[in-house]
């Protein structure tokens, strides 16, 4: 009997061994490229933060890997009329401390969002259109807006719901320390060290089912070479934003796998049209000022667009980590038009257009861009300048750090501005409104229209689309607006960036268009 017991114990010990190693395997480390500036979900509207918050907190509506809206803490939602939205909330959801989630938490969240002290970029943009909230029952809530607000579901997908119980007296510090960082999400707060790491633990009672990891450590590795080294040495199991130079090496290494996806970020050029007569940094080839601003002429704008060989830039400068663009979003997004293809490379046609516009021998121009903000941004600007020299335009390139560049671009210091735009809402209407509607600060139109492009026909379509609740009709209006804008070369789309993640073997990541790096998308490979 005793011998049998011993044997049984030994067998148990042997069985327990793999279990112990398995437990270790339920931990994973991920290398991120940018710092998380706060654990307060309403403090700083910044992509790396928003991505991190999605582990601990949840919005009413979530976005899937293609940024399509899917149920989150709300199971369904509908517009009752143009000014009223009804949301049904998910039942039996509990916060990390076990307290139940109800409509009161939503009401509290909406109250807290505009009142976070010292917020450098507030989420109030998303909650402002809601003028009144009615709690029908603990799981039904009604939002009233002053004017028809079609983007309400999309806006609410950016607002994390916090617990009223823990949030009522909480400051941003309380979230950073973890005291108030209590949400409903699949992971719980464990540790936050600014500019260094974030550690999360699994929330085993999660309503959406258990995650494959007990513990996730996010390490902030801003230096690209350090990020790759950490993956190679096994310190982390996944990294985001693989530098283009290392993609070749990693893809031929069997120990790692790469996954990529076209993103919601378009690299584009704004052409300064603030003045009819003067355009900064544009002169005749002799250095004398031109009589008119050439960028006001749609023929010149079109010439500048078709003179760029987008395929060459995507293939060589971006090493295939870009997809040539014909509008503001890849054409599987809401409101994009299948008719809009990237402009065909046609230097002869561009020369002809320039001659028709009265510049048969071209002009001189400076291309301004960033050198530390987008993937290979300075190299792209150099390539564009090369293409322009072929159509008789003397193009100089001047790039600078983002900290200097954006202030000057917003002031209108430049004529040819290379920029990037990520569409967080996942639909083209809001991008058209921000980038190309006539600038009107009071109405929130054209807030990032640094070119001051203005087209009344386009404005009318955007305004109409933004008050059309019916999805089908609205999509048609946005498509038409995009077609009009692109026919007029309101701006020059260059390409959509492709984001790349690398994982160690045995892991699989669900790549996303919003460039978020989520532990919930990382699974053991089958």
């Amino acid at each position: 009997m005793l011998r049998f017991l011993r044997l049984a114990l030994a067998a148990l010990a042997v069985l327990a061994l793999p279990a112990a190693t398995l437990a270790k395997e339920r931990e994973v480390s991920i290398g991120l490229q940018a710092a998380i500036t706060s654990m307060d979900p309403h403090y700083h509207n910044l992509s790396p933060n928003n991505s991190m918050m999605l582990h601990m907190f949840e919005p009413l509506i979530k976005r899937d890997a293609n940024q399509k809206l899917v149920p989150g803490l709300a199971t369904s939602w509908k517009a009752v009329d143009d000014l009223t939205w009804e949301f049904k909330l998910r039942k039996n959801v509990r916060f990390h401390d076990g307290s139940p989630f109800t409509a009161d938490d939503v009401v509290f969240t909406l109250k807290r969002v505009p009142n976070v002290p010292n917020s450098p970029s507030s989420f109030a943009t998303f909650t402002k259109p809601i003028v009144d909230v009615k709690v029908v029952d603990p799981h039904t809530i009604v939002f009233k807006t002053a004017t028809a607000h079609v983007l309400l579901p999309s806006d609410l997908a950016s607002v994390m719901i916090v617990s009223k119980l823990h949030g009522e007296k909480a400051s941003t510090e309380d979230y950073n320390s973890g005291k108030a960082a209590i949400g409903t999400g699949p992971y719980k707060f464990a540790e936050y060290v600014p500019n260094q790491r974030v550690v999360l633990k699994a929330n085993y009672g999660y309503w959406g089912g258990e995650e494959p990891w007990d513990k996730v450590t996010f390490k902030i590795l801003t230096n690209a070479a350090a990020r790759v080294a950490a993956l190679l040495s096994g310190d982390v199991q996944m990294i985001e934003t693989v530098p283009t130079a290392d993609i070749g090496k990693l893809s031929s290494d069997k120990r790692f796998s790469l996954v990529d996806k076209v993103s919601n970020r378009v690299i584009y050029v704004h052409l300064n049209q603030r003045s009819d007569t003067a355009a900064p940094f544009i002169t005749g080839k002799d250095g004398k000022p031109l009589a008119k601003n050439p960028l006001k002429d749609p023929r010149v704008r079109k010439a500048l667009s078709i003179a760029i060989n987008r395929d060459a830039i995507a293939d060589r400068v971006m090493e295939k980590r870009a997809v040539p663009a014909g509008q503001l979003l890849p054409d599987f997004f809401f409101g994009t038009s299948k008719k809009l293809k990237p402009a065909k490379y046609d230097p002869e046609g561009a020369k002809k257009l320039l001659a028709e516009a009265g510049y048969p021998s071209g002009f001189a121009m400076t291309i301004h861009g960033t050198n530390n903000r987008y993937i290979n941004d300075d190299k792209v600007a150099q390539a564009i300048a090369q293409f322009y020299s072929r159509i008789g335009i003397d193009a100089k390139v001047e790039t600078m750090p983002a900290s200097v560049y954006f202030t000057r671009a917003t002031k209108g210091d430049f004529s040819y501005m290379q920029l990037g735009w990520g569409t967080e809402s996942g639909e083209q209407g809001s991008s058209l409104r921000s980038l190309l509607a006539t600038y009107d600060a009071a109405k929130g139109m054209g807030v990032t229209n640094r070119a001051r492009y203005s087209n009344p026909e386009l404005d009318a379509l955007i305004t109409q689309a933004m008050s059309t609740i019916d999805d089908k009709k609205r999509e048609g209006l946005i498509q038409k607006a995009a077609e009009i804008a692109m026919a007029d070369t309101a701006l020059i789309p260059i390409h959509y960036e492709v984001s790349t993640w690398a994982t160690a073997r045995g892991f699989a990541y669900q790549a996303r268009t919003d460039q978020y790096t989520l532990a919930t998308g990382l699974k053991p490979a089958k």
Binding site: A35, T37, S38, Y43, H44, N45, L46, P117, N118, S119, P120, S121, S122, A124, T125, T172, E173, N176, V193, P194, N195, Q196, R197, K219, I220, L221, T222, N223, A225, A226, A229, A230, L232, S233, G234, D235, N372, P401, A402, S403, V404, Y405, F406, T407, R408, T410, W421, E424, S430, S434, A441, A442, G444, V447, T448
Partner: protein, 327 residues
């Protein structure tokens, strides 16, 4: 001594105020932080709110005045990005940077002075020549490249050392240090060696030059003639006399190692102040930039003071603050 300390303090305060003003003007001239902080989709109302929340709506001189008033009571402002007091953010990261700098300096001194002595005493031997060749490498290889090679060899190929971060820490007098734990040592080894390499080469060359000069001096010849053992001749007569320039350089370099460990910190993701400074400059996080530079300038001032005191201990002819000082 006391009068000297007070005069030094007054000068230092002036330097600090002047420096903070220059940084203020500099950041103001670079650009508007709100452009970088606020979400591009935000409207004018939101921009105005953020500008006011960060105190950037006030005229420039008023902003500086607000800063000075706060600084007088020890408040250097809150980080625009992190919304925590800028000084806390830096003091939180400073132990890691100082630790890295000290370990690097210890490596540089412990290896540099003996190697330099050997190279100086036996300049024509194979060992002497080998040391000098090595020091040329240490000088000319870029820190960035050496760091990556270290990672490639010791983390990726051999798997002996972790490639990034700081290890487990122990609190010593309330300050967390990592060089007392095995995990901490494994983490600090590569960045410290990487950072030490340049200083090591510098110290080798400096010690060698001083030694070669000193061994030809009469007092060394005399000491030898007196029949003193070699160890005493070198340890006392040579070493003590060549230490003054070496101490000066060590002092200067310690400051610069703390202030400019940025490259090493970013390659090894060492959670120090250098990395924080670079991020803050990119984000135009003015309170953090100003606070960082104030802390670093203060460090330089303290180190210089200590170096001056050390002089007077090494060389009795040097008197602090006296008009008759002869250095």
């Amino acid at each position: 001594m006391l009068a000297y300390a007070i005069r030094r303090f007054g000068q230092s305060l002036f330097v600090l105020v002047l420096m903070s003003f220059i940084v203020f003007v500099g950041v103001y001239a670079i650009g508007n932080p709100v452009e970088l902080l606020v979400n591009p989709q935000a409207d004018e109302v939101e921009r105005a709110r953020a500008t006011a929340a960060l105190g950037l709506d006030k005229p420039f001189l008023e902003q500086y005045w607000v800063f000075l008033k706060g600084a007088a009571s020890g408040d250097l402002g809150r980080s625009f990005v992190y919304n925590v007091p800028a000084l806390d953010l830096i003091l939180d990261k400073l132990p890691a940077t100082i630790e890295l700098a000290f370990v690097a300096m210890v490596i540089a001194i412990a290896l540099g002075i003996p190697l330099g002595l050997v190279a100086g005493l036996k300049p024509d031997s194979a060992i002497g020549r080998g040391i000098m060749a090595g020091s040329i490498l240490g000088f000319s290889l870029p820190t960035f490249w050496v760091g990556l090679v270290l990672i490639m060899v010791f983390s990726v190929q051999l798997g002996w050392l972790p490639s990034n971060g700081r290890g487990d820490t122990l609190a010593v007098a309330g300050i967390p240090v990592s060089f007392l734990t095995a995990d901490g040592l494994a983490h600090i080894a590569m960045p410290a060696v990487n950072l030490a390499l340049f200083k090591l080469s510098l110290l080798i060359r400096l010690t060698r030059a001083g030694t070669r000069e000193a061994v030809l001096q009469d007092y060394v010849k005399f000491a030898r003639a007196k029949g003193l053992p070699q160890s005493r001749v070198i340890g006392v007569h040579v070493l003590k006399n060549i230490l003054i320039p070496i101490v000066t350089v060590i002092g200067l370099e310690l400051g610069s190692v703390i202030a400019f460990a940025i490259v090493t910190e970013s390659i090894f993701a060492w959670p120090g102040t250098g990395k924080l400074l670079i991020d803050s400059i990119n984000q135009l996080d003015r309170p953090v930039i100003v606070a960082y530079l104030l802390v670093i300038v203060t460090l330089f001032i303290v180190i210089n003071f200590v170096v001056d005191v050390l002089y007077s201990m090494l060389d009795p002819r040097v008197r602090l603050g006296g008009a008759a000082a002869s250095h």
